[in-house]
Subunit: 477 residues, 2 copies
């Protein structure tokens, strides 16, 4: 018998090309160790509930009622659920004839897309059209769908920040396009320098690549930077000049840990710039229920909003969405709740504010504890996490450590992270998984471990790191 | 400014090539008419809850508790939920550290994959390995993922039944492969004739196409046929000889409306065939929570099981799953509940049986009512719906009707279905959306409208059809 279609040798090469480090070697090893009974601290994925963050109460009450609508007719329902959750459940059920068990329109429920549009309008001060908002099973699926429309083949390039969240590199490989990296400036707090963009595009063109789109992640993953309005304006001008679609990954818009640069959406900046630019730059913005103080990752809810995308293209995207019928309906309702939370005066308002503020303020403290912790370690330098959920320290590996990793057949940062995992149970992602400059090493960890565990984690990290450094520096003497 | 990346002209050609009729022109027109206030009977998608089917109570109780786990600590919980639902919710929560808001492993929760494996073992009498079962956001996403791995380019062909469910044709276009049709035999109750397969493969080879995989839909959509064991054996032998991966779409395995041919899985038949075949044919089988008596379409839960797929390929598929992090967790639990429903003796057992039997028996009656109804119409012939959720009558259009449709710039069956929609509000899918032989016309409707509405629907159909036929035959005289 010859090679079969699902034998490794004969798989789609693009599939094999994909690299996906967040759940790569480190994660697999951590899972193994966990099976063997070792206590693992999973800081490899931004997965807050997995590390003990409690879900917000109100949205869970509403969803529970939507899933079990017969409870609404039960005379005892008021003993378990507040009246505003009951009212909200009735509201969402009225938007979905057939309830949560019915496929919705492939773009998502019209009533919820309307609530998202209203949220965007309140946030940005510019009206938004529900027909240009598609609900998705998490932001990831939306990003994949848009890149699938843009990428026609290897000659098509997408500008992606480096370091970047590997959703982008993986998807570009999967669809057979070319990743065009632009480097974020570690020395400038991971800022985005437009001159780097220009160089990257020039280099790509020289290599025969048509650069068609640019990705920004704001706030950044893994780098945590928040882009300033001025910076966003430069980016939009650049996209305009170079005729690039901008993909604005804004999933961390609620996760801000400093006051100098509050979140501002790419869309608002674009609209503020006025015509002709505001009517010409094609922009797709992504959001999710997985992040913020929601952290509802497992529900898989997201949306994308299209700006300046022609109707015929919107129709094509709609058609592609139809293939898989509809995004999951419960998470669509989570999205509705996220963009339309309890209001002052509602029964559940105070609890909602208390819970969400509690989470956000704790994240802010943890961001600080982690940065400080890393900076107290030998050969480790770390920018402050301005936003998002990650700390991305640079690890200055001594030459002997690099040599040792080569002997072990490992990339140096993988070598370091594996040793860290074995010694401490802390499961991180090596910086090479996100892309980094030659000879510079990082690791990424989330800032999500429980606040009370943080001191112990950081001191166990420090102990490992400082011993590691001593071990490999000692050799020199 | 030149053409932009998201202008229609410059989109990925594969995206533009995709055809997707189930939510195509007819559906869009129906949605418009609905907005204008017309009563529409949506029979275009197998979406039972949207047509009034009530969800099963027990699984919804369990999910509600899993979504709102704080209820489990409430002393009043027993007033709203039976004890077995409470116990089951605790069980599923114990399988997902972090609850429903945490990303799971990208393959799905190990505990639920184990329950699926046990279900398969009970069903088929052969053990199943949880490591070879991946949970997905509905069967659609699984099919897309597997085809993405198989299709390397235009030279790769996939055998697909015609008529077929358009997920397959659409996905093959999207990933740039070639659809190789094999025709089901309408005159043999939509049976699968292996001679047709042989011809199709020979023809494709002649055109330079490497046929790599074959799809069967059993029970069939839109055709409703149930494949016999002997037929499945022929198919597996054929796949073995021709070195094809078999994709077994078995989402309708619970939907059987006759007793001669109960559902039998491709996997069981393969195992029964013994070595070497049972160890050599690569098989991927798909299932879902959307169909059966569950009909939980909006939850988006499914799985695929891999047989004889080498570990390196499984790793690649795992890697691709990782890009979008995890399937939604609530629907994973629905899958757990579907494969592991209440047992005799459980508090909820009787209600569960009553509800599920009620749905299935009513579907069986509706299948009969529809077939009989169609066969009573002028120029309409319809095979009995042996399984699945659809009726697929052949509509013998008079030459003058075909001429009229050409003048209107429509494919004849689209023309007929649009007229039907405008006249009666019945929203169907023209047979051309599923592929059909040249010059033969069909429509597809689901058998899902409420049983009590069925007589009226069928008589309104008959009235429209018979008048239509008279109108266009009259011209001849
Ligand atoms: C930058 C970024 N974009 C997108 C996502 C995807 O989120 P989801 O698919 O859960 O919405 C993540 C998740 O970690 C992320 O970090
Ligand atoms: C034959 C067939 N396969 C797969 C699906 C997809 O189902 P889901 O993605 O909801 O699991 C359907 C839905 O109608 C179907 O008819």
């Amino acid at each position: 018998m010859g090679v079969k279609a699902l034998d490794y040798e004969s798989l789609n090469e693009n599939v094999k090309e994909v690299q996906y480090a967040v759940r790569g070697e480190l994660y697999l090893r951590a899972s193994e160790l966990q099976k063997e009974g070792k206590k693992i601290i999973f800081t490899n994925v931004g997965n807050p509930h997995a590390l003990g963050q409690k879900p917000l109460t109100f949205p869970r009450q509403v969803i529970a009622l939507c899933q079990a609508p017969f409870l609404l007719d039960d005379p005892n329902v008021g003993q378990l659920f507040p009246a505003d959750a009951i009212a909200r459940a009735r509201h969402y059920l009225s938007l979905t004839p057939g309830g949560l068990g019915a496929y919705s329109d492939s773009r998502g429920l019209p009533g919820i897309r309307k609530e998202v549009a209203e949220f965007i309008e309140r946030r940005d001060g510019y009206s938004s059209d529900p027909e240009l908002i598609f609900l998705t099973d998490g932001a990831s699926k939306g990003v994949m769908q848009i890149l699938n429309c843009i990428i026609r083949g290897q000659g098509d390039g997408v500008l992606v920040p480096v370091p970047q969240y590997p959703l982008y590199s993986a998807t570009i490989s999967l669809y057979g396009g070319s990743l065009v990296p632009y480097y974020l400036e570690e020395s400038a707090n991971w800022g985005l320098d437009v001159n780097n963009l220009r160089e990257s595009v020039a280099q790509a063109r020289f290599n025969g690549i048509t650069v068609r789109a640019m990705v920004i992640i704001n706030p950044g993953n893994p780098t945590g930077q928040c882009l300033s309005e001025a910076n966003l304006r430069e980016v939009l001008n650049f996209c305009h000049r170079e005729n690039l679609v901008l993909l604005g990954d804004e999933v961390y818009q609620q996760n801000i840990y400093q006051d100098e640069r509050p979140f501002i959406s790419s869309r608002k900046v674009l609209m503020d710039m006025g015509q002709p630019i505001s009517k010409e730059v094609q922009l797709v913005s992504f959001h999710t229920v997985s992040k913020g103080y929601w952290g509802e990752c497992g529900q898989r809810g997201g949306y994308f909003e299209m700006t300046n995308i022609p109707p015929k293209t919107v129709d094509e995207i709609y058609k592609i969405s139809s293939i898989s019928l509809s995004p999951n309906v419960p998470a669509q309702i989570f999205m509705g709740l996220m963009v339309n939370p309890p209001k002052a005066g509602d029964i559940s308002y105070e609890q909602y504010v208390r819970e969400s503020k509690g989470i956000l303020e704790s994240l802010r403290r943890r961001a600080r504890m982690m940065t400080d912790g890393f900076n107290s370690c030998k050969n480790v330098v770390c920018n402050f996490t301005e936003g998002a959920m990650y700390s991305f320290p640079q690890i200055r590996l001594p030459p002997k450590a690099i040599e040792a990793s080569k002997n072990a057949g490992k990339v140096p940062d993988v070598f370091y992270c594996l040793k860290l995992l074995e010694a401490t149970g802390i499961s991180t992602v090596p910086g090479s998984g996100f892309g980094q400059k030659e000879g510079v090493f990082h690791l990424r960890t989330t800032i999500l471990p429980a606040e009370e565990d943080m001191p112990e984690i950081m001191s166990s990290f420090k102990k490992f790191n400082d011993e590691f450094m001593e071990q490999y520096e000692a050799v020199k003497i």
